[in-house]
Symmetry: C2
Subunit: 219 residues, 2 copies
């Protein structure tokens, strides 16, 4: 009865740990996933996980790093006719998240909901990898860009929540193109529609001179 020691043959245990880790993080988020459970799922001793990845946080980073590659996708979604940007953004988000590689995105998102550390990661990722490119690609009034892009993010994040996290019907099982058709127009409007006048008191207006406190502009 052998107990410890190296396994015979060449098996890529490291990869299967990463796979199990992504599954776990996607299903339950960072905090609720235990290294022990991940190791068990990968058919491996928990200590091996530490041997390869050191700490749980590094494991998370390693599990995220491989499949999340915004360098290709984002520009692809942003390039093209500007009036279809909303549609491309929504479709890309759904496509990525529905794909097997998308489990990393789900993991990232789900974890960010309850863990401060991963929330910071996601914020940074969104800002540096997505928003900046978006602002550069889509021609946006720099004064309005922050609010416009975060409104877009808001709508897409809400879609994610409904479909992948809370799994509210019929969002959860609706056909992808149904959602694209329903949501894309509103995303497009966040990019294009003139912002209401009260808006000027918030961003670029600089009217009453207060930077931090927005003007109580009741209408």
């Amino acid at each position: 009865m052998k107990r410890s020691g190296r396994r015979p043959g060449n098996q890529d245990t490291k990869a299967s740990i990463l796979e199990a880790a992504r599954r776990a993080f996607a299903e339950k988020g960072f905090d609720q996933s235990s290294i022990r459970a991940i190791a068990g799922d990968a058919g491996v001793d928990p200590a091996l996980v530490h041997h390869y990845f050191g700490t749980k946080e590094k494991l998370f980073l390693a599990a995220m790093n491989a499949p999340i590659n915004p360098g290709e996708l984002i520009p692809q979604a942003l390039s093209g006719p500007r009036e279809q940007a909303g549609e491309r953004l929504v479709r890309m988000a759904l496509t990525v998240w529905d794909s097997p590689a998308g489990s990393a995105a789900v993991a990232m998102f789900r974890s960010a909901m309850s863990n401060e550390w991963t929330a910071r990661l996601l914020r940074e990722f969104v800002v540096t990898q997505i928003l900046r490119r978006a602002v550069a690609s889509l021609v946006l009034d720099p004064a309005e860009a922050p609010l416009r892009t975060s409104l877009v993010a808001t709508q897409i994040a809400g879609m994610m929540i409904g479909r992948y996290v809370l799994r509210i019907e019929p969002m959860a099982s609706a056909d992808r193109e149904v959602l694209v058709a329903a949501i894309a127009p509103n995303v497009q409007r966040f990019l294009d529609d003139p912002m209401p006048e009260v808006f000027s008191s918030y961003n670029g207006g600089r009217a009453p001179g207060a930077a931090g406190a927005p003007d109580p502009a009741g209408r």
Copy 2:
């Protein structure tokens, strides 16, 4: 040096436990909040929490029950000119969540993101307390109602996420009326705009190309 025993005077410890519990649940969600931390925050021994509330789940329910009272708010937001329903919904959501009592709502939402039990609670709450009333109050084509209402929920949930959970700027600190002005029109469109034709392949119509699509639950 006294250690244990009843405290002098009449102090409402039970209430301050509930208060600390709501704070904790709102800030960190159900799983990440420990009874020990809540007890410490309330200046009390952890055992006292169990003495009053029995289990952690019952504590959560007790902390939610008091301030969440949709019986009044929802009808109030739904009644009124139909073409301003979007605006009233968005403003109500922001108002409730910004209020001190809203910490319960934040707690519920945040917890639902990472804990299955609370997610079920939220789903049930949303469906029975909000969606049904909404469908009844706003005149909606029954065939389209599920998707329309969940699209609305999606947009509002996304706003919540950005403003209260992920705290993405400028959503987090934008003036309430700025968000109302920016988001309400899109909510209104989810209620009113004709759904794209591809939509018919989802809810009733059996249109072409719906082969591999998952069968929706409603029907």
